[in-house]
Amino acid sequence: MAERKLLLEHSHETSFRTRAGYEQTGGYEGLKKALGMERQAIIDEVKTSGLRGRGGAGFPTWIKWNGLPKEKKTSHFIICNADEGEPGTFKDKELIEKCPFLLVEGMTIAGVATQADAGYIYIRGEYLDGARSLRSAIDEAYKAGYLGKNIMGSGVNFDLYIHMGAGSYECGEETALMSSLMGERGMPRLKFPHAPLPTISGVFEKPTLINNVETYCCAPFILKNGGEWYATLGASTKNSRGTKIFSVSGHVKKPGNYEIEFGTPLQELLEIAGGMVDGDLKFCVPGGSSVPMIKKAEVERAIIGYEEMSEVRSMVGSGGCMFFNDSTCVVTFTWRTAQFYANESCGKCTPCREGTRWMVQILDRILAGGGNPGDAELLQQVASQIDGRSFCPLGDAAAWPVAAALRVFPEEFAYFIENGSSMVTGAKTLAMAP
């Protein structure tokens, strides 16, 4: 297998960013079809496609679409999560910059299916190129009657707005994103069973659908070609259908976004990205910084698929796939990962607020040559005191990479603690540069 470009097929054509160019490639056929369908039929099409959320959790998309009240009593909203922040991931960036109409059309289809009055695209503040690209796509879509009142004469109204974030990884968590969209601190909100599902009471306390950029971008293809067609992609896997964009980076020759079909071996993704640069593969973080790292042997047998990846004790995650060569010190790497989560913790709950900071402190000390016997166990225990105890998944995401590093490369931690220097680079003191 090789790349299987579906979403990214035309991403390098600048005309694809204009309405006319987009339409030439079959754009808006999906929406046209959707407007002629019963709302439930649209949702059923998504169900047939087997599409699962591309933001990281892999939740079946149709269940969310199906969850909004069928009998509309109040405003409905849909949100696009374009707050891409998971380290190692940059696929949504490319999609909104180069394929803005895919998202606009996908959201419009979802809006039609869920009777939404308006959609909000929550874009992280840094992604200005993407935001500008989307801005002009939305403006064009309004002019062409694809958005606004009475879309394409169908009687359906749907508005689309851009809302810019302001620098917070936590806002990628869907309830925190809703807080942020409502003008609050980006702190997560109570979830089921503690509170109603967003599809019943989400943003502005109205029924809300929230999906990732890539998920929405799949909708035009599913509607245009049919759910059954979409489901043929990735059919070799247990339960993962379609294509997935992986952002490949780290020590690879050709870092970038690569779209592959589910069922592709992970090793092949590495080859697509040109293979390793300077040395041999040591470990891979296949789905964004929070998913557990795997060693070379696992990379060689891993098949990309939601269930398949769990066989090597990792995950598809957001698709931020990083390969690291044998010059990488795992302890230093773990320290930098831990620091990310400590800096991005929102502070709402005790385990994440205090635990992430403590893990950084312990790693700081180990890197400074002050490691004590038992520090590895302590780190592992602190991680387990956060995992599953925090308010939102950020705590879990902070704990997993640390726990995984300790499990996969215990000898490197033991060496650093005992000798005060890196087993890999030999560097002493706070060795920041690899």
């Binding site: 840094e126 302001a166 780290g250 870092p255 970038g256 990310f340």
Partner: protein
């Protein structure tokens, strides 16, 4: 990040806030932009984030207490609440006034392994400042930031609304020289760009 929580100087007696003394500095254009943005949401509160972007532009790239108070006033929210929102997000400049250009160097995972701290060191030497500091001429502020999600361009740096990467010493020199030649502040320009993407063409 410093371990000590940043706080303003403590006075013996807390100052009483006289809300009637509030000066409003938003330009006419800013006010109409805010009105347009408010119409996008079913609640006024939801406009706090965009309003803070407007304020960051209108107040020269820095969200001073006055700037935050103006946003709170215009959106009928409690001052403390808006300050809480502004200080939550790392892209709002609430802790210290940035220089004319803010160099934000990503040191997260992929950038880290590709030598982000070497690049950071290099910039520190070139500009003679440490992270979170501003050069004496007020031109540059250096910041270490978390993942900018452009890992394919590691080591990547953001200045205003642009990403630069992969960074090399010569590229850095070019960027710095280019920034020095610019008249407008990229910090303010970025806030302006962010405000603009909220606005439909018809409203611009």
């Amino acid at each position: 990040m410093s371990d000590l929580i940043g706080l303003q100087t403590l006075s013996e007696k807390p100052t009483r806030l006289d809300q009637s003394q509030l000066k409003l500095n938003f330009s006419e254009a800013a006010v109409s932009q805010l009105e347009e943005i408010k119409s996008h949401y079913p609640s006024e509160k939801a406009a706090i984030l965009p309003a803070l972007w407007i304020a960051q532009r209108e107040y020269g790239g820095f969200l001073s207490s006055e700037a935050i108070a103006e946003v709170a006033h215009r959106l009928h929210r409690a001052y403390a609440e808006v300050e809480g929102v502004a200080t939550f997000y790392s892209m709002y400049n609430t802790r210290h006034k940035p220089g004319k250009h803010k160099l934000e160097v990503c040191t997260c995972l992929s950038c880290h392994v590709n030598g982000a701290y070497r690049i950071l060191d290099l910039i520190e030497k070139k500009l003679g400042i440490r992270p979170n500091e501003t050069t004496e001429d007020g031109l540059f502020t250096l910041e270490e930031v978390e993942c900018l999600n452009a890992c394919d361009r590691a080591v990547v740096m953001q200045v205003g609304d642009s990403y630069y990467g992969p960074l090399t010493e010569s590229l850095l020199d070019t960027i710095i020289a280019d920034l020095k030649s610019r008249t407008e502040s990229t910090v303010i320009q970025m806030a302006d760009e962010i405000v603009k993407v909220h606005l439909p063409e018809s409203a611009v």
